[in-house]
Structure formats: structure tokens, C-alpha cells
């Protein structure tokens, strides 16, 4: 029993690191642009499909496949940004309506990207080469899959990297200025549309990396990947607290732990039911999210 509990917790953390990578990109876009990009997952899916195609045609190595996934996700992301986010950004007068138009537009492109991917590779399932072929690591009675360990390391590195980028560079200063006061930032000479574009590109690259690590861990690609990535990313972001990077990681780990434990206790249908129930209850009772609750519980410390 105790061994299972620990193993499930380990599995939950590992699953959570995949969600964290997805949630970080989502949060970056929402935190800066104040808009939800529903096409985030489908763009990742298109990248993964491109990598699958390259794998089928050329049997390329893992670095090439990772690069193709990232570039593919960035190209699809750029298309979404140009068509759904950049044009609506100019209407600064009607903020809410523009945000809704961006979100609905990104949903429309979701349909498009998904259909392009499935027309390109029409089978229901393609196998994808694993990142690492050996057996899982054994830690006494517990096991740990190397792919998920790589995800955890990447998630932690991405979180620290993003923090440094935002806190210590001129680009980060521009981003923070826009988040605080977009109009004032514009008056101070910051090229707001360009910063938005770069943030979008960065988030898409992160999403591509997440997508590669996830399909390499699952060793398969299916048309469900797009919706799955958008949903898990957005749920983790909302659980942690909208627009906060450490919140995204906390929310992702919480989602992973909830899923791992409830799956073991009650099975996959109840796993999803409980995950949605927790999200619903948290939004109804504490919409600021888990990270804000943690910070309040540990007292007023500097961020």
C-alpha cells in the first residue's frame, strides 16, 4: 500500500512535468497578451505530425525530430498569431471584444490545423521513436521512466530560464512594462506588437519542446494530441492561477498528482471526473488558484 502510494506520487509528479511544460507556454501567452490561444495544442500537434512524417521518410535522429517539432509548432503558432492575435491587438479601445474575437479565431484555426494534420497523415495512430530505449530507472522498489525525468528537468529549466529572462533582460523589462501598463509602455517607445510576436514565438517553441517530449514518451502520435494539449495546458494554468509562471508549474503538478492517485484508486473515468471536479470547485471557491493559496498560507514573502 505504502509502496503504491509513493509510486503513484512519483508517477503524478512525472505526469505533472509534462503538463507543466504545456502550461508554461499557455501562461506566457495569457500573462502577456491577456488572451487565451485555443490553437496552442493543435499547433503542437502539427509540429509532432511534421516530425512523424520526417521520421517515416528519413528515419531521422532524436535531435532532428525535436527540432522539426519545435519549428513546426513555431510556424503554426506564427500563423495563428498573424491571423488571430496581431490584427485584433490594434483595437485597443475594445479590449474584451478583441479578446473574445482572438479566442474564437484561434478556435477556428484549431479546426483548420487539426484537419491539415489528419489529411497529411490520415491513420489513427502512428508510432513515434522513443527518446530512450532502455528499461526504466529502478530506485529500490520504485521505478522512474527516463523520458519523464527529462521532462521534469526541462520543466524546471524552462521555469528558471523564463524567470531570468523576464527579471534580468531588457526584453523581460519590456514584457513586464507591457503587463503593467500597455499604453504607457507604448508611449515609452516599446514596440508592443513586436514584443507580443516574440512572446508568442517563445511560447510556441516551448510548446513544441513539450510536444516532442510527450510524443516520444507516449511513443505514438494520434489526432487527439491537439485537444489533449490545449485542455491539459489550460486546466493546469487555471488550477495554478491565471497568468503566473510558478502557478502554472504548481497547477500542473497538482493535476498530475490528482490524476495519478485517482486513476489508481478509481480508474480512468473517475480520474477525469475528479480532475474536472477539482477544477470546478477551485474556480468557484478560490479562482485566484493554488499558487495564491500557497503564498497566503506561507505568509507575505517577497515574490
Amino acid at each position: 500500500m505504502f509502496v503504491d502510494l509513493v509510486q503513484n506520487t512519483l508517477d503524478g509528479v512525472m505526469l505533472g512535468s509534462a503538463y507543466a511544460l504545456l502550461a508554461l507556454g499557455f501562461t506566457l501567452i495569457f500573462g502577456v497578451l491577456r488572451r487565451a490561444n485555443l490553437s496552442y495544442g493543435p499547433a503542437i500537434m502539427l509540429g509532432a505530425y511534421a516530425a512523424t512524417w520526417v521520421h517515416l521518410q528519413f528515419h531521422a535522429g532524436f535531435l532532428a525530430l525535436a527540432a522539426v517539432t519545435i519549428v513546426g509548432a513555431m510556424l503554426a503558432g506564427a500563423y495563428v498569431e498573424r491571423l488571430c492575435f496581431a490584427p485584433h491587438g490594434r483595437r485597443s479601445t475594445s479590449g474584451d471584444a478583441a479578446a473574445v474575437a482572438s479566442m474564437v479565431g484561434s478556435f477556428a484555426l484549431w479546426m483548420q490545423l487539426e484537419e491539415i494534420a489528419t489529411l497529411w497523415l490520415p491513420k489513427h495512430l502512428y508510432s513515434f521513436p522513443p527518446l530512450y530505449d532502455g528499461p526504466p530507472l529502478a530506485l529500490g522498489p520504485f521505478t522512474l521512466r527516463v523520458e519523464y525525468l527529462a521532462m521534469l528537468i526541462c520543466a524546471i529549466a524552462a521555469c528558471f530560464g523564463l524567470h531570468r529572462l523576464l527579471a534580468q533582460t531588457r526584453f523581460g523589462l519590456a514584457v513586464r512594462a507591457i503587463v503593467d501598463q500597455a499604453d504607457a509602455a507604448r508611449l515609452a517607445g516599446i514596440n508592443v506588437p513586436r514584443v507580443f510576436m516574440l512572446v508568442f514565438a517563445l511560447a510556441s517553441a516551448l510548446g513544441g519542446l513539450a510536444g516532442y517530449l510527450i510524443v516520444a514518451a507516449h511513443e505514438q502520435v494520434t489526432p487527439m494530441l491537439g485537444m489533449w494539449s490545449t485542455l491539459k495546458g489550460i486546466i493546469a494554468m487555471m488550477l495554478g492561477g491565471l497568468g503566473s509562471l510558478p502557478g502554472a508549474v504548481v497547477g500542473a503538478l497538482a493535476l498530475g498528482l490528482i490524476e495519478a492517485h485517482s486513476q489508481w484508486l478509481l480508474g480512468p473515468q473517475y480520474r477525469d471526473l475528479i480532475a474536472y471536479l477539482v477544477l470546478f470547485a477551485l474556480l468557484a471557491l478560490r479562482p485566484a488558484g493554488l499558487w495564491a493559496m500557497l503564498r497566503r498560507a506561507t505568509g507575505p514573502t517577497a515574490a
Binding site: H88, S94, M111, I235, Q269, Y276, L279
Partner: protein, 300 residues
């Protein structure tokens, strides 16, 4: 009438109920990803009513509306103070819970020597009241569109009434509405319940048109589509959502020109279209302009 055309017209009518349900919430300023849940509640409730309990269809439709309204009220109670993405995600979580509950829902009994009723992920077969009562497809189409026209008439009345002005005010500026003495929370809850009843009625008709429903019918895609229909059609008039449905189902799904590429065409059209009309085809300004033009012609 050609059977194919009949099917398309019926489908446009059926999904218009759901699009109108999403529209009603949009007018109060709330973006719901979860109206498909109440469509599903209505479908299951009405199916159980006619196929298992032997109720006549009109009674089953009333039951579906009542349960749809209660379910929407229960979801709205803890969530309607949320705004924007928070509300959208809360309704999405609720709708997915409903879908999973449909998957876990087993309730069957033998009727006329045949086992009927919801059977989890296997779905719910044999909702045959319409067939058994010899109702032709044309008659069913007429029923769907008569109900829809009645609802549109109710919307038209609402837009001109004090209540309608209150609902629009809550959507545009809830703080101001509150200061002016509108009970914002109560208006929102009432609108959410009405939207639930509307979706429930649509679900009841949908179940009896298809004779078979399964939990997968009521997934997120249906919810986001109905929201998109309302937004493409426009937020100025209740005809907007119908226009949105007609564009997608009538123009793209049915004209087989785009077969296989429908989503690429529809998705691209919507995204480009939103650049020019971010509040939809029939937005408030357009509707007001048309109304003025009609009034001038009437006067002259």
C-alpha cells in the same frame, strides 16, 4: 421534399437551439463552453421519458426543459460571479463532468421485450416515439421550426421589453446596472436557467430525431461550435445564431464541394471574417442600422 434537404434543414433547426442558448449567455456578457451539457441532459431526460416511461413527447419535452433549467441553475449558482476565461473554464469543467456522468449512467429496463435505456458509453438506443407515432420527417421538421419561431418571437418581445433592456445592461456594464437597482445576480441566474431550458428542449428534439444518443455527442467540440455560431452570426439579434448555424451546416457541410476540407475552409473563413466583424455578422450597430432603415421606409 428531398430526404437529404430535410435532414439538413432539421439539423440547422436543432443546433440553432444550442446556438441560441449560448447567445443568451453572451448577451449577459458570459462566455460559456458548457451549453452542450444541458443539451445532453434534455436528450437523456426526454429519451427516458418517452422510451422508458411511456410519456408523450410534449410532456417529455417539458421534462427536458425543466431538467435543463435546473442543471444550468445549479452550474450557474457558484460560477456566475466569474468573468471571462474563468467562467468559460468553469462551464467547460461542468460540461465534461456531465459527459462523464452520462458515461457512468446505466439505467435500463425491458419495454415490449426489448432492453432500452442509457447504457454508459454504449449510448442510449431506441428513442422511437416519433417513428412509432407515424410522424413523417416533414411533420417533425415543421415541429422543430415552429418551436424555433416561437422562441424567436419570444426573443423579439424580450428585446423590446424592460426585462430585455435589463439583460443587455447587465451584459454591458454590470456595475452600472447594479447601481441603477438591477439585481445583477438574479438576472444572470434567471438567464442561465432559461438558456439551460432552451438547450434542454433542443436536446429533446435532437434525441427524437436521431433515435440514438451517446455521451460523446455532448463533448467540448459541440459546445465550442455553438458558441462560435452565436459569435459569427452576431450579438445584435437572435437571428444571428441561426445565421451562424446555417452558414456552417447549411453551406459547408451540405454542399459537398468541400468534402474532406470543410474544417480548413470553415476555420479559415471564420478567422478572416472576425478580422472585419469581431462581433459577428449581425452585430448591434448593424441591427440598429437596419431597424432605422426599415422605420424610415415605413414612415416614408
Amino acid at each position: 421534399m428531398d430526404e437529404y434537404v430535410l435532414g439538413v434543414l432539421t439539423n440547422i433547426g436543432l443546433f440553432s437551439f444550442l446556438a441560441l442558448s449560448a447567445y443568451l449567455l453572451l448577451v449577459t456578457g458570459e462566455l460559456s463552453f458548457g451549453q452542450q451539457a444541458f443539451f445532453g441532459v434534455g436528450a437523456y431526460a426526454a429519451g427516458i421519458g418517452t422510451a422508458m416511461w411511456g410519456l408523450p413527447l410534449p410532456v417529455a419535452m417539458l421534462l427536458a426543459m425543466a431538467l435543463g433549467a435546473v442543471a444550468a441553475w445549479l452550474v450557474g449558482l457558484p460560477t456566475l460571479r466569474l468573468r471571462g476565461l474563468y467562467f468559460a473554464m468553469a462551464t467547460l469543467a461542468a460540461a465534461e463532468m456531465f459527459r462523464i456522468l452520462f458515461e457512468l449512467f446505466h439505467y435500463q429496463r425491458t419495454v415490449d421485450g426489448e432492453l432500452v435505456g442509457p447504457d454508459g458509453t454504449q449510448g442510449f438506443r431506441g428513442i422511437r416515439w416519433v417513428l412509432e407515432h407515424g410522424i413523417e420527417q416533414e411533420a417533425f421538421l415543421a415541429l422543430v421550426w415552429t418551436l424555433l419561431l416561437l422562441i424567436l418571437a419570444a426573443f423579439a418581445w424580450l428585446e423590446r421589453s424592460r426585462l430585455g433592456a435589463m439583460v443587455r445592461m447587465v451584459g454591458e456594464d454590470p456595475e452600472l446596472a447594479g447601481v441603477l437597482g438591477v439585481n445583477v445576480a438574479r438576472v444572470k441566474l434567471a438567464v442561465a436557467a432559461a438558456a439551460g431550458a432552451l438547450a434542454g428542449l433542443g436536446g429533446a428534439l435532437y434525441a427524437h430525431h436521431n433515435t440514438y444518443v451517446e455521451p460523446r455527442n455532448f463533448d467540448i467540440m459541440l459546445g465550442v461550435h455553438s458558441l462560435a455560431y452565436a459569435l459569427i452570426g452576431g450579438l445584435g439579434t437572435a437571428l444571428g445564431p441561426l445565421l451562424g448555424v446555417a452558414l456552417d451546416i447549411g453551406l459547408l457541410e451540405s454542399t459537398r464541394v468541400f468534402q474532406g476540407y470543410r474544417m480548413i475552409v470553415f476555420g479559415g473563413l471564420v478567422a478572416i471574417f472576425l478580422l472585419f466583424r469581431p462581433r459577428g455578422l449581425l452585430d448591434e450597430a448593424t441591427v440598429a442600422g437596419i431597424a432605422r432603415a426599415l422605420a424610415r421606409r415605413g414612415a416614408g
